[in-house]
Symmetry: C2
Subunit: 118 residues, 2 copies
């Protein structure tokens, strides 16, 4: 079991490639064989296999071989962890701006009060 940091490293690394993102998009519609995953990509089969290996080692996909056909399926957990990480950063950032907005409002109100007194 990878620790959370290492898991996020591998997941974001795996997501940093358009061919791998295209494969993941295809896999959201259900388990898919290697040959069908390769079809829309202008790439050699070893190239496709290499990308799938990166995806599998990141935990974003899992594969199963039945007879001579290897089928890949999406593992939503790794995707969720990556989504959560970004989501938490965005919420934290928005919170900071809310606090900043409140602070600026207080300053404006104080300014108005001082203005009234003058």
């Amino acid at each position: 079991m990878l620790n959370k940091h290492a898991a996020l490293d591998l997941t974001f690394q795996a997501l940093a490639d358009p061919a791998r993102r295209s494969m993941l998009a295809q896999l959201t519609r259900g388990p898919t064989s290697v040959s069908r995953l390769a079809q829309p990509l202008e790439m050699s089969l070893p190239g496709v296999m290499q990308h799938l290996a990166v995806l599998e080692s990141s935990g974003l996909v899992r594969s199963q071989k039945i007879g001579r056909v290897r089928t890949f399926r999406l593992e939503p957990r790794a995707l969720s962890l990556a989504e959560q990480w970004i989501n938490h950063r965005r919420i934290e950032w928005e919170r900071h701006f809310d606090r900043l907005g409140e602070y600026l409002e207080t300053l404006t109100r104080k300014g108005e009060t001082h203005g009234d007194g003058e």
Copy 2:
């Protein structure tokens, strides 16, 4: 202006490192100087600058030099694009499972109907 694919490549690549993620987490709490960003990291200043260059070229952060102090701030747009990409994949995946669930339910109901007739 980078195209969307290239922008996502750079963003996910930038996110695939714990030191860069830690810097981004710090920047969600507001603009920060290089020296303050470097403080919690056990890393040389050139190392820190290299990570910040990766973050800046991905569009996740922007920097500004006032006098001798360079300050970095988070650019939420790149983070949002990455979040959206993952979010859309998850929604697509959940939709697939909803449809699969409905299909299995139909099969079960059909089975029950056939069962009744026997």
